[in-house]
């Protein structure tokens, strides 16, 4: 009897001390039946990718409110590609302007959620993409 669970890594890259949003999302995903690994604050892209590989997650969610998202998010996407983990669903959220959002999505992010997104929308997005 196989028992698959969606495993998600929620990570805070860079010098950014605000993780209320990351924790709200983490809890919503847990309540939707997923196993959520939270990295804690101030992780480097290398640390995040290493954790994602060890934990064998299907989804990585990055949160940034510091304004450094372009650099940090790109770095994570680049490292994943370099190591051959392009099958991982990559999502992001936080204070990210529209123009950056589009750029990140072109660059390999599956979705960048803007402030005000309901948690159920994030849950549905992940379930659709991982199971569907």
């Amino acid at each position: 009897m196989a028992e698959n669970r969606i495993r998600v890594l929620i990570a805070k890259p860079g010098l950014d001390g605000h993780d209320r949003g990351a924790k709200v999302v983490a809890q919503a995903l847990r309540d939707a039946g997923m196993e959520v690994i939270y990295t804690g604050l101030r992780r480097t892209p290398e640390q995040i990718v290493s954790a994602a590989i060890q934990e064998d997650v299907q989804v990585i969610g990055l949160s940034s409110l510091s304004g450094a998202h372009n650099h940090l998010f790109q770095k994570v996407a680049g490292l994943l590609e370099e190591k051959g983990y392009t099958d991982i669903l990559l999502i992001g959220g936080g204070i990210i302007p529209d123009k950056d959002r589009k750029k990140l999505e072109e660059m390999g992010f599956d979705c960048i959620f803007s402030p005000g997104t309901s948690t159920s929308k994030i849950v549905e997005f992940i379930q659709d993409r991982v199971n569907g």
Partner: protein, 317 residues
């Protein structure tokens, strides 16, 4: 052999983290080929010491693990950490947050951290933990640290699983009766009273000390030490590391090591038998015609659940 399984076995043999991570998921999900995988890696296993840390949420287990693993890696060891957090019985989900306190280990070469949810195991440890240990030993790690939230059955399970167990406590969580009730005294090889700057630490440590002395039989060479510490400040952590080493030496001297090995084997065998029972007997029964018939009969007060259980799986007791 399934191609996927063969690739994983080869990857583990070559020390590839990605292959190990995928293999861990396969045994956790009990996905197709997991028995084959465990069978194939069995000859690759090199036994290594297993250290356990248990205690209530928030007492400081992950902070302590962060230090222990950091020191051991400095000495050139390859370390595996299995951090277990509870699965929600309502949603089946889990928030695995032990990496938050292991900041010094993030991305460090030589450390493999795997967060595991307790999943379906009735208050105890997930059967997959035994299998994860086997995979890590096939990966040739030098030491495995298992961290579990000490609630209910998981405390007694960790004794069968780990060579040396440290019970982590903090002041302000109840009186001596609570401590006896929780059964913690029976499982600890080492006791750590963390957050020793809080009021009541002295009393708790004294209490533990006197309870341990009264339990220790005469001639028994290992009396569990009680350490007061402030893990977040690094206070007494080196001492704890030494106590783990002492306990290990003590195990190596006597026959206890073989006894532990036997206990572990027994527990793994029982867990796999239970899994087979689930797959072969319980699984096909659930929702079957006979199942519905039995439920109707039970709720209609015709025949008892005991009657039906024997009818479904006949044989002498």
């Amino acid at each position: 052999m399934v191609k996927k399984v063969a690739e994983l076995v080869q990857g583990i043999g070559e020390g590839k983290e990605g292959a190990l991570a995928r293999a861990l998921t396969l045994v956790e999900n009990r996905g197709s080929g997991y028995r084959e995988l465990l069978d194939e890696i069995f000859p690759l296993i090199t036994p290594c010491p297993i250290w356990g840390l248990t205690g209530a949420p928030g007492v400081g287990k992950s902070t302590i693990t962060n230090f222990l693993a950091g020191e051991l890696v400095e000495k050139g060891e390859k370390i595996a950490i299995i951090a277990v957090d509870p699965t929600s019985p309502f949603s089946g989900g889990a928030l695995l947050g032990d990496r938050v306190r292991m900041m010094d280990l993030a991305g460090k070469p030589g450390v493999f951290i795997r967060s595991m949810a307790s999943r379906g195991a009735l208050g105890g440890l997930s059967p997959a933990i035994m299998d994860a240990i086997a995979l890590f030993q096939a990966f040739q790690v030098d030491r495995i640290i298992v961290e579990t939230v000490g609630v209910g059955q998981s405390e007694t399970d960790i004794v069968a699983l780990a060579d040396s167990v440290t019970v982590v406590m903090m002041p302000g969580t109840g009186d001596d009766v609570q401590t006896i009730k929780a059964g913690l005294l029976e499982i600890g090889d080492i006791f750590a009273v963390n957050k020793a700057d809080l009021e009541g630490a002295e009393t708790l440590a004294g209490l533990l000390q006197s309870m341990i002395s009264s339990r220790t039989e005469e001639g028994q060479s290992h009396q569990p030490p009680v350490l007061k510490m402030i893990a977040s400040q690094g206070n007494q952590l080196e001492q704890l590391l030494q106590e783990f080493f002492h306990h290990q030496e003590y195990l190596n001297r006597g026959e206890l090591k073989e006894k532990k090995e036997r206990m572990r084997g027994e527990m793994a065998l029982k867990m796999h038998l239970q899994a087979r029972f689930q797959d072969l007997f319980l699984g096909p029964l659930l929702g079957s015609e006979e199942w519905e018939q039995a439920l109707k009969s039970i709720t209609g007060r015709e025949k008892s659940p005991a009657y039906w259980a024997e009818k479904m799986i006949p044989g002498r007791d």
